[in-house]
Amino acid sequence: MVLAERQLERRTAQGQWVATQRRLTATRDRARAQRRALEALMRDRASLARTGELR
């Protein structure tokens, strides 16, 4: 009985670990994509600032 309970809890913890790992992967991918988008925007802004006289 004790063993079954502990195994069940371990399995639950394992499921939560997998879910957290998936969330982390998704968040990390989004953050990296956002960082790339931000860098592209900053390049555009720098380019516009260079080409126009209106800084």
């Binding site: 309970e5 957290t20 989004r30 931000l38 802004r45 516009l48 600032a49 006289e53 209106l54």
Partner: protein, 337 residues
Amino acid sequence: MLRAFLIVSCFAGSACAAQQTARTSDSLFASPAAELAREHAPDLYEQAQSAWAEAEVAQRRKEEQAADDHRTEARLWLAAGVAEAERVQLEQSRAELQREEERWAKQLARDQEASVNVARDISRFEARAVALREAERLSTLSEGPTLSDATLDAILTRVQLNLALAEALGASDAQLSPLRDRTEVIARKRPQSAKAAESLLLRTEALIGEMRAQWPEPRAGASTELIETATATGFAADRLGNGVLIRSERFFTSNGQVSNATVKRFHGLLAAFPHGPVACQVAVPEIRSRVWARRVASLVERLRQMDDPGRVSTGMVVTQALRAGAVQCTFAAYRGL
């Protein structure tokens, strides 16, 4: 982590049962999995050790069945301990993953906010670039061959906006009616030449200036109006402690000639904001440059071709902060409004 899973499987699964029966206390409790159980689930580990001790007592008494039962109990307690240890380790690992997730989420939020700000800057730059092109187009009308329908419509729209502003500033019907009549005539006849439309546009800007000039000093909000108008007419504009600073790198063409279009735009701005002196500085590479002295003298002469020639003073400044030929002018009366 995977290693621990396999160890647990071996403890709990029936496939290992045959091997386990032959194990000694040392091999059972000295395994890496048992070490994990001792560390993370000491109560269950203790239970396993107690059961194993009872098995040894039974064995010494030659009670084989009881000894087998106690050994099985010991293995089950230890398997539970290993499962518990595994759970604890998973929780610790999950907590670490969550901390990492929070770090990425914070970076994501910061970058999203920064992206919004950069995108806003880009929109502003683009809007200013459009305003500059439009302003330059309007200020070169009289130099162009013919007037397109779209340009004429743009001018008439601007004229009407100027008339509305002049009325809001207190212009009378006597001042407005002749200009409205001219607007209607131009809209109806749609002349090929730009001169009449351009003249009307300049006149409405001058009327706004006349209305503003009736006040002894700029009214509240005038500096904001100056900045907005300057931006709409293609200049860079900033509010500084000593007034509003208007900036442009287009007063000189690429071959060093004074730009008619830019001077015309600047005269329009001066007419619309008539208060106080305006101090201009031309950035030059070196103060003794004869070439730049001639160019600046030419600009001074052009800037003085207005109703109040003494209003604008112009000097030269050597600075690395601005490109050679850049001009910045301070409208000193528009300070802190």
